[in-house]
């Protein structure tokens, strides 16, 4: 019987699923992904985590619970750092411990440290990870190579304009076209942490809602890493949050793109890094005067409120087309 490895559909799932999945499957393991977010999953997460923990992490608790009784081991890597001299957020550093102490009756956790703070190669991480399942070093190395190759392909799809779930569908379900080129309406950049904007339940179908209104949507993930970093390098000090780098770099790029009519910044309630990066983004937006919407999500967000604000935002963009061009911007 093959061993079942559980991967929660939460947090950095949207960045790294192909990497993990290919590696495990190449080693002959079965990968089980938690079901798409539902109210049940979120509620379970809320009940099993502390009140002051942010929504994405509480949701991740729910996804862990969804997997708990269906898998043999749970894969919860400790994501310390995914780029030189950068971290993600303290909660990613402590996530495996939070889960271990918050949920009882868990299958064994596999939580190797992924730490690229001082080095560039992912191989040591995979070597340590693979040793949990096999002692065959060659098999581990080949699985690693294959995983990195698949991940590269995934990133290429994202840069072509696909969103994570679409890109995954192209890769794993054989879909060829992904999405339509988009409507004839305005173009809006949606900037936010991947686990907030790409989870349709959490974002209340933000992306598809915009698309239904004829809006062409682009996001930070559609931009190449080098471009994003070039933009973020304009900050007075190197930003030490990788997700923040991506968001600020993308926001500043889209601010300068004449083809982008407005920017939506999505943050979760009480998000630490966002409180500062969001502030920097909104100050820059104010200077340049592009339509801007700051959406804060939490477990109490109601759909009606979000819809109203989105409509107002889209109205604002539409009206600006009829206004005489402002001189200063």
């Amino acid at each position: 019987m093959t061993l079942k490895v559980g991967i929660p559909r939460a947090l950095l799932y949207y960045y790294y699923l192909p990497l993990w999945r290919t590696f495990f499957e190449a080693l002959g393991l079965e990968v089980v992904i938690s079901r798409p977010t539902t109210k049940t999953i979120l509620d379970a997460g809320l009940q099993n985590s502390g009140d002051d923990v942010c929504l994405p992490v509480r949701l991740a608790f729910g996804h862990v619970l969804d997997l708990k009784d269906r898998v043999d081991v749970l894969f919860l890597p400790r994501m310390v750092s995914i780029a030189r001299r950068e971290y993600i957020c303290p909660k990613f550093l402590g996530f495996p411990d939070m889960v271990r102490h918050g949920i009882s009756g868990l299958p064994p956790l596999i939580d190797p440290n992924l730490n690229l703070y001082r080095k560039d190669s992912l191989y040591p991480f995979f070597a340590a990870l693979g040793r949990n399942f096999t002692s065959n070093r060659l098999a581990i190395y080949l699985a690693y190579r294959q995983a990195v190759y698949t991940q590269t392909r995934y990133v290429q799809l994202l840069e072509k304009g696909f969103f994570p779930e679409e890109a995954l569908a192209v890769m794993y379900q054989g879909l060829t076209e992904g999405r339509e080129p988009g409507g004839d309406g305005p173009t809006v950049a949606v900037i936010g942490h991947p686990y907030n904007i790409y989870d349709p339940y959490i974002s209340m179908n933000l992306l598809s809602r915009l698309a239904r209104n004829g809006v062409r949507v682009c996001s930070a993930e559609n931009l190449p890493e080098t471009l994003v970093r070039e933009q973020a390098a304009r900050l007075p000090k190197h930003l030490f949050w990788s997700l923040g780098q991506r968001m600020i770099g993308a926001a500043w790029h889209y601010l300068q793109s004449p083809g982008v009519d407005g920017i939506i910044h999505v943050a979760s309630f009480a998000c630490g890094p966002d409180s500062l990066t969001g502030e920097l983004i909104s100050r820059e937006v104010k200077r340049r005067g592009k339509p801007f919407l700051n959406l804060t999500l939490d477990e109490h967000s109601a759909e009606a409120g979000v819809v109203t604000r989105l409509e107002a935002f889209l109205d604002m963009i539409e009206r600006r087309q009829f206004l005489p061009a402002r001189e200063s911007v």
Binding site: G50, C89, P90, L93, D97, M98, H101, L280
Partner: protein, 362 residues
Amino acid sequence: MMKVTFPHMGHMWICLAAMLEYLGVEVVVPPPSSKRTLTLGARHAPEFACLPFKLNLGNFMEAAEQGADTILMAGGCGPCRFGYYAQVEHAILEDLGYNYRLVVLEPPRKHVGELLSKIKYITGHSSWWEVVRGIRFGYQKARMVDELERQAHFLRPREIHRGSTDRAFKRALQEIIAMKHPRDLPEARERVRKIMDAVAIKPRPVLRVGIVGEIFTLLEPFANHDLERRLGYLGVETDRSIYLSEWINDHLFLGLVRGLRSRREACQAAPPYLNHFVGGHGQETVGSAVIYARQGYDGVIQLLPFTCMPEIVAHSVLPGLSNKLGIPTLTITVDEQSGEAGLVTRLEAFVDLLARKKGVVV
């Protein structure tokens, strides 16, 4: 000549001002953090920025009223938000029309020269030897203040006349503040000792509580609503996981001063509850709670500003630790909305619980 200011963090201003003034730098100490400071800061800071950010910002705005034109601040390399405070605060102040020069002392990335040149920029004409003596002088003051605080923690629950410790503490603190030169140290030390020895106490059963958590809320009485004093009046002797001089020794002197508690011990005590550093003082919080439990303390209180990321991680593992080691814990989150009455009620309930568990009347 520039007028240098810096953010408040408890009694830190005493040693910073001592150091800078010894080196001939003109210093503007911001008015003590108050409701006004917080209101000013919270009005212009991002909504979800943590409390220290808001108070820092308020400090800078109030210091500007007194003529300060240069901000001296520490930096950091994450993942705690503090490492990016200075840049965002400066952007906010600029948009508000303040004209501040910003000097951030960052841990050097490439070369130690980056840091040294900034110190030189602030201290101007002083020789390196003088700079070293200035830092030493500031550190000695920090040691004295910490020693004084420790004494106050011991005396308060045992004092015969309510408030006598606090009055003595204030007078002793003035002695430390008034000291202008390292050669006055021995005499000042003697005077401080006399003042504190004069506090009348009686032996009585007390509870012992360890306070752990985020450094700013631990060290700044305004931020924690005078937690230590309140507990003292409830008959609790407190200790806390971080004192300023220990922090200086750990982070600036790289642990060179022997005989002080160090963060290393705390971090080593944290597993299996928290196996990795999480930024800020998250791992120290967990480890210190373990150490307090081992030392037979009656309870642990964790202090954190609302939305503090490292402490939220620590908070998530504290209940398990509390169960396993049999030590009651209480977590107190503070922000600009915190009220005093709510805090007092929770403290009284917690102290009652500890007293019953121990079977004493305090």
